[in-house]
C-alpha cells in the first residue's frame, strides 16, 4: 500500500515537475479595429523648409503637416488605442522604442511607449536638432543633438500625453504617448490598429487623437480576435 501511494506521489510530483507549463500566449486574445472619421477634416498644409536647405532638398514635394493624417475610406492615422481599464497589469518592455529625426520630420509622428520604457532618438539629418518635449507629468527637458552625435536615450517614468517640438525647426511637432499599459496600438494610414496579448476579460479601450480628442469603448476579449472600431467627428478648423 505504502509503495503504491509513494509511487503515485512520485508520479504526481514528476508530472507536475516535468509537465510543460501552459503558455499564456496561446490563451491571450487580441483586439483589432479601424479608426475612421465623419465630417470634413482640416486641410493639411505643405511645410516650407526654406530655412533649412539640407532638409528641404530631401523632399521632392514638400511634406505636409501631420495634425490630421487621413487615409483611404476616411481612415484616420496616428490614433492611439489603449486599454484604460480592466488591465491586469503589464511589464515594462525591455526593447527600446525608436524615434528618428530625418528630413526635419519626426518619424513616426506619434510614438507610443510604456512608462519607464527606453526611448532612443536618433538624428539622421545634417543639421542640429533640439528636441523639446512638453510634458505635464514628467520633468521637462530639451537637448541639442548636433549632426553625427549618438542617439539620445531617455525614458518617461509617468504616464503622460506629451507634445514634442524641435526648438530649432518650428514645424517639427510630434507626440510621445506614455502609457501605464503595454496593451496599445497605433492606427496606420489605413486606419487599422491591433492590440495583442490580452487575457480574456472585460476591458475599456480609449482611442486618442491629437486634434479630435478621445473616445472610449468597452470590449470583451475572448478566444477569437475582438473587433472595436472608432469613428471620430472631424471639423475643418
Amino acid at each position: 500500500m505504502t509503495r503504491t501511494i509513494a509511487a503515485l506521489g512520485v508520479a504526481l510530483i514528476g508530472t507536475t515537475a516535468w509537465a510543460p507549463s501552459a503558455p499564456r500566449a496561446t490563451l491571450a486574445g487580441s483586439v483589432t479595429g479601424t479608426i475612421t472619421f465623419t465630417g470634413t477634416p482640416p486641410k493639411m498644409k505643405p511645410i516650407d523648409m526654406a530655412k533649412e536647405p539640407s532638409c528641404a532638398k530631401q523632399h521632392a514635394t514638400p511634406i505636409e503637416t501631420e495634425t490630421v493624417v487621413t487615409g483611404p475610406n476616411n481612415a484616420l492615422q496616428y490614433v492611439v488605442v489603449y486599454v484604460s481599464a480592466g488591465d491586469q497589469g503589464s511589464e515594462t518592455p525591455t526593447t527600446p522604442v525608436h524615434l528618428e529625426q530625418k528630413g526635419c520630420q519626426y518619424i513616426p509622428h506619434v510614438v507610443v511607449m510604456h512608462a519607464g520604457q527606453s526611448l532612443e532618438i536618433a538624428n539622421n539629418d545634417q543639421t542640429s536638432h533640439n528636441i523639446h518635449p512638453l510634458p505635464t507629468k514628467n520633468p521637462e527637458w530639451n537637448k541639442s543633438q548636433p549632426p553625427g552625435s549618438p542617439p539620445i536615450v531617455t525614458k518617461y517614468d509617468n504616464p503622460d500625453f506629451i507634445p514634442v517640438k524641435c526648438n530649432v525647426h518650428p514645424w517639427m511637432h510630434g507626440y510621445h504617448i506614455v502609457l501605464a499599459t503595454s496593451h496599445f496600438g497605433l492606427s496606420g494610414n489605413d486606419g487599422t490598429y491591433t492590440i495583442t496579448g490580452l487575457p480574456p476579460g472585460k476591458y475599456t479601450l480609449t482611442a486618442w487623437h491629437e486634434k479630435f480628442g478621445t473616445m472610449t469603448q468597452d470590449v470583451t476579449v475572448g478566444a477569437q480576435p475582438t473587433k472595436a472600431d472608432f469613428q471620430f467627428k472631424a471639423t475643418p478648423y
Partner: protein, 267 residues
C-alpha cells in the same frame, strides 16, 4: 626693441589698410534704393578713418623711431606750439568731419526709417519667433486677419494664430516661409515678435531692424534688382539664433504674381 615696435606698427598699419583698400572681404553688391547712399557714406567714413589711421599710427612709429636710440644724448624737445595747436586741430578736424557725416547721414537715415511710405507699397506682415520667420500676405481682400497668440499651432502650420473659422479676413491670408517681393516696388513690412527680440537683416538691402515683443514696427524698402538673398536674425534670441534665417526673393512682377497664386493654393 623700440625700432622693432616702430617697424611692427608701420607694417601692421600698411598691411591692414591694404586689405581694406583691396576689398578682399567686402559688402555684397547692394540691391536697394538706399544702398548707394549708404555705401558712399561708408566709403567716405572709411577714407577719413583710413587717413587718420595711417597718419596717426605712422606718426607713432616715426616718433618712436626717432627717440629709439636710448644711448644718444640729446635735449628734450617740447612739441612745437605746445598743446594748443593739437587741441585746435583735433577739435576742428574732428568737429568738421562729425558735422558733415551727421548732416549727410541724417538724410540717409530719414530715407530709410522716417520717410513716409508710398501708397502703393506691398504690405507684408512678418512674425519672428524662436527660430524662424514667417510672412503673411493679405490676400484678395487686402486686409490681414487678426492674429491670436493662443491659437498658434506650429505643428499644424498656423504660425500666426489665425482663426479662419470666425475671422473672415483671415481666410484668404497667405502665410509663407519666404519673403518674395516684386522688383522696384516699395514693400512695407509690419514686424511682430512672438516671444523674444529678434532682428531682420538683409545685407544686400543694407537694412536691419529689431522685432520687439509688444510693438508692431513698420519697415519699408524697395529692391532694385531680381535676386535671391538671405534674411538672417541678428539679435540673440536663444539657442537657435545661428540657424534663424530665410530667403528674400526679388522677382519680376509677373513671377511674383504667379508665386503668390501658388502659395495661396497651398494654404
Amino acid at each position: 626693441m623700440a625700432k622693432l615696435f616702430a617697424a611692427l606698427v608701420a607694417v601692421i598699419t600698411i598691411v591692414s589698410t591694404g586689405i581694406f583698400v583691396a576689398r578682399t572681404w567686402w559688402l555684397p553688391p547692394d540691391i536697394s534704393v538706399v544702398g548707394p547712399s549708404i555705401d558712399s557714406q561708408l566709403v567716405e567714413t572709411m577714407v577719413a578713418a583710413g587717413v587718420l589711421f595711417v597718419v596717426s599710427q605712422l606718426t607713432l612709429a616715426v616718433f618712436v623711431w626717432r627717440v629709439s636710440d636710448e644711448k644718444k644724448e640729446r635735449p628734450i624737445r617740447r612739441f612745437p606750439g605746445g598743446a594748443t595747436p593739437l587741441v585746435v586741430l583735433a577739435t576742428a578736424l574732428v568737429g568738421v568731419e562729425v558735422l558733415t557725416l551727421s548732416l549727410v547721414g541724417s538724410k540717409i537715415w530719414y530715407n530709410t526709417f522716417l520717410a513716409p511710405v508710398p501708397a502703393n507699397a506691398l504690405k507684408v506682415d512678418v512674425q519672428a519667433g524662436q527660430f524662424a520667420f514667417y510672412f503673411r500676405y493679405p490676400g484678395p481682400d487686402g486686409t490681414f486677419g487678426t492674429p491670436h497668440p493662443d491659437k498658434i499651432d506650429e505643428g499644424g502650420g498656423n504660425f500666426f494664430g489665425l482663426d479662419p473659422a470666425n475671422d473672415i479676413d483671415a481666410r484668404d491670408d497667405i502665410v509663407t516661409a519666404e519673403l518674395a517681393v516684386p522688383v522696384n516696388r516699395p514693400v512695407l513690412l509690419t514686424m511682430h515678435a512672438k516671444d523674444v527680440i529678434h532682428s531682420f537683416y538683409v545685407p544686400e538691402l543694407r537694412l536691419q531692424q529689431d522685432f520687439v515683443p509688444g510693438l508692431v514696427i513698420p519697415l519699408h524698402f524697395t529692391a532694385t534688382q531680381v535676386a535671391k538673398t538671405e534674411i538672417v536674425c541678428t539679435q540673440l534670441c536663444g539657442l537657435g539664433h545661428y540657424n534663424m534665417k530665410t530667403y528674400l526673393e526679388v522677382m519680376s512682377q509677373a513671377d511674383f504674381d504667379k508665386w503668390l497664386k501658388d502659395q495661396a493654393a497651398a494654404q
